[in-house]
């Protein structure tokens, strides 16, 4: 009996659920990052280096993986990297909460620099199906065979999906029924299959916290893509994938789905701090559904060239990736002073109905920095009875109203639960009459984020179009 972990570039073949694990302060250890679906993509000319997180948690002898690749890989195209690279990149690029402290206008003093909190996302993966093993018949060609430390790797080519299916089944790889039909387009597109098992003689269960190490492969193809279809063969549920992309020029973007920036720079209430994980999860869900559930979300984009001294985040959640980290990730040009390293983090939440096609990407010259960043500002403490203090109190009240509105709009939280928030910041303050604190109006969303042009203009243009068409029609048929 053998369990198979069948996926296409980090895609889990069976249902993968996704949940926020809450809130972690500062850098989280690798143990918090179990079962995360993550991919590092490095694009250099026509070469793509793909590092796949490996979250297999069953019996190690049951582990197997099938990844379609565009060409037959050589030995030097396959590497094993340290698991920590994923947590490092995640910690560095995760959506961030930044904290500021108001100064008391009545007694000028300095407060600590902004503190950073980081968001962690953990998902569960369950992969299991029993199958029978038998000897194979040569319906497929073994193009290459490598032993790479604890892994046994085969590169297969197949002429027909039935042949590959039979081979996989006879060799003890249980493939989902529908996966067979998804394998066919890859075979007919002349793709090869990168098939992996663990060599039990070389595997040390004590090493790496009992986890299998991520495999990194370099493929050569004009196609810059991640095949996600096989991963959805048997699953109708939502799956999440983090893509950490590195390129020479600028941002990486998806070419067959929209790449949309997450809201950023919003001022949110201070009470969100201990629930930042839940907050961001809700912001993501809300934004994702607002965009029709078929957009790729941008969470971070920045020039991270290690030899470049400029600021790489504002402020940084973790240490920016340096030479060694980038080398681990598969970036091969860090020593080339003339090329920069641009880091793009994309979060894809996909389902079969909304993402019918594999993900295709392109590298763009877009060097605009971006980070998903949310701001909380703590009110001033102490005596605020001076004139400036009174003004400050009024401003604070207005600000908190706006913060609640942002919260309602971004995360769809019911702000009635937090009705005392507006008053709370001020009524603790000594010496201020708070006549308004009763019957305070609690805003309910829709008050912010107005960067868009007036929608009225859209209506006017459409109206003109209708009038124009009518006019043309009348003159044509009159």
């Amino acid at each position: 009996m053998k369990q198979t972990f069948l996926f296409l570039i980090s895609l889990v073949a069976y249902s993968a659920s996704y949940a926020f694990c809450g809130f972690y302060v500062a850098k989280a250890g690798a143990d918090l990052y179990n079962n995360k679906s993550e991919v590092i993509l490095v694009r250099d000319g026509k070469f793509t280096t793909i590092t796949m997180s490996n979250n297999f948690q069953g019996n190690i002898k049951d582990f197997a993986m099938v990844v379609p690749v565009p060409n037959v890989l050589k030995r030097e195209d396959i590497r094993i990297v340290d698991r920590s690279i994923f947590s490092m990149l995640d910690a560095y690029s995760a959506p961030r909460l930044v904290e500021y402290f108001d100064e008391n206008p009545c007694q000028r003093r300095y407060y600590p620099v902004p503190a950073m909190y980081e968001l962690d996302m953990v998902e569960e993966t369950s992969v299991a199906k029993e199958n029978s093993a038998s000897l194979f018949k040569n319906k497929v060609t073994i193009e290459a065979r490598y032993n790479v430390e604890e892994y046994e790797i085969l590169i297969l080519s197949a002429k027909e999906s039935d042949g590959l299916k039979t081979w996989l089944l006879e060799n003890g790889y249980q493939i989902p029924e529908k996966a067979e039909t998804v394998l066919e387009p890859y075979i007919k597109s002349n793709m090869k299959f990168f098939v992996v098992k663990v060599n039990l003689n070389k595997y040390n269960p004590q090493a790496n916290g009992g986890f299998l190490r991520p495999l990194q492969i370099t493929v050569s193809s004009e196609k810059f893509m991640l095949p996600i279809r096989l991963g959805m063969a048997n699953s109708k549920g939502e799956q999440d994938m983090m893509v950490y992309a590195f390129s020479k020029q600028g941002r990486v973007e998806c070419t067959n789905y929209r790449t949309v920036e997450m809201p950023t720079g919003n001022n949110i209430p201070t009470f969100v701090k201990p629930n930042f994980g839940n907050f961001y999860s809700d912001v993501f869900r809300n934004k994702h559904s607002k965009e029709g559930r078929n957009a790729v979300m941008l969470e971070y984009a920045w020039n991270v060239t290690p030899s470049w001294g400029g600021m790489k985040c504002d402020p940084c959640v973790g240490n920016p990736p340096y030479f060694a980290d980038l080398a681990q990730a598969g970036v091969g040009w860090t020593n080339d002073r003339s090329s920069s390293v641009f880091f793009t983090r994309m979060h894809v939440r996909y389902t079969l109905d909304k993402f019918p096609e594999d993900l295709f990407f392109q590298e763009t010259p877009n060097k605009t920095n971006y980070q998903a960043r949310y701001v909380i500002t703590h009110p001033a403490n102490g005596d605020l009875s001076c004139d400036d203090g009174k003004k400050y109190t009024l401003k604070l009240r207005q600000r908190r109203k706006k913060e609640l509105a942002e919260l309602a709009q971004l995360a769809q939280w019911d702000t009635y639960e937090f009705y005392d928030y507006i008053a709370n910041g001020t009524d603790k303050i000594i010496g201020v009459e708070d006549s308004e604190k009763k019957n305070e109006f609690i805003p309910m969303g829709n008050s912010s984020g107005g960067k868009n042009p007036p929608k009225g203009l859209f209506v006017i243009i459409c109206g003109l179009l209708v009038v124009y068409s009518a006019k043309r029609l009348i003159t044509r048929f009159a």
Binding site: T255, G292, E357, F458, R476
Partner: protein
């Protein structure tokens, strides 16, 4: 007097370029308002400003027919919809290349390149800071938007819809044969590929531009079919990014050859203006 004004207005309103301006304009606002496009107003203003000034400049020294500003506006909207860049000057440069190409690169008084097309290609090649985002459109509404455009264009007889229809039928047919019949993907995959704003914008607003495509109907159909076949090959076997934009650029110089083989009258924007047809040699 009043009668004359009304008749002028009627002639003017029949100019199909108004339709294109309104349609593309509404699409741009839809994109900014609903598709989370970055509303780079400064970039748009730069493109519009430079395009109009360039058009006025060249018109002043050539035909002095200022109604051609409408063509410049269509080009401008095409650039705003398709050209991505972080730099305002790149947008301005694209607009300048687009409009000046109409006056400078001509054979037999017909400009060779679609202005928006050469503007985009010029900006990409010269600055390395421009790109096209084929993924910016999303799906769903976009599709119906273009179905609407196609329908209106047919009913209103705007532009040369035969090119768009031929191109889409050839490209879509080949893509269907490969993706669905041969490779075995579900029809969704084919639909998703066809339902791309860049492709549809290209089909309905770029290759229907009567000024840069063959004059003769048969020539146009052959021309559009070739473009469809080439696009299918380039995007499916060579994985070329933004293949349509590049192919149009490379195929455009062949338009005069089509015009030589298949002879037909050159298109006029305003039908009911016989006095203008006499001046058609100067039309730009």
């Amino acid at each position: 007097m009043v009668k004359k004004l009304v008749s002028n207005f009627s002639t003017e309103a029949n100019d199909p370029r108004y339709f294109q301006i309104l349609y593309l304009g509404s699409f741009l606002f839809y994109g900014i308002s609903y598709l989370s496009w970055n509303a780079e107003i400064n970039k748009y203003l730069a493109i519009v400003g430079v395009a109009i000034v360039t058009q006025l400049f060249f018109t002043y020294f050539t035909t002095k027919r200022y109604s051609s500003i409408k063509s410049a506006l269509i080009t401008t909207l095409g650039l705003c919809l398709l050209l991505q860049t972080g730099q305002i000057w790149v947008g301005a440069l694209a607009a300048f290349i687009a409009i000046s190409s109409k006056f400078l690169i001509k054979i037999k008084n017909k400009h060779i390149f679609n202005p928006a097309n050469i503007g985009i290609i010029g900006a990409i090649l010269l600055t390395q800071q421009a790109w096209v985002s084929p993924g910016q459109w999303g799906s769903g509404v976009v599709f119906w938007f273009f179905v609407g455009a196609a329908g209106l264009m047919m009913v209103l007889k705007v532009g040369r819809i035969d090119t768009a229809v031929t191109f889409l039928l050839v490209f879509g047919g080949l893509l269907f044969a490969r993706q669905v019949l041969y490779l075995g993907w579900e029809t969704d995959v084919w639909m998703h590929k066809m339902n791309n704003g860049t492709l549809l914008l290209f089909a309905f607003f770029m290759i229907t531009d009567p000024m840069t495509i063959p004059n003769h109907k048969r020539a146009r159909i052959v021309w559009a079919a070739i473009l469809g076949i080439l696009l299918f090959i380039a995007s499916n076997f060579y994985y070329m990014q933004s293949a349509a934009i590049w192919l149009l650029f490379f195929i455009s110089p062949f338009t005069p050859i089509f015009d030589r083989v298949f002879k037909a009258k050159k298109y006029e924007w305003i039908e009911e203006a016989p006095q203008l047809i006499a001046e058609q040699e100067l039309f730009v």
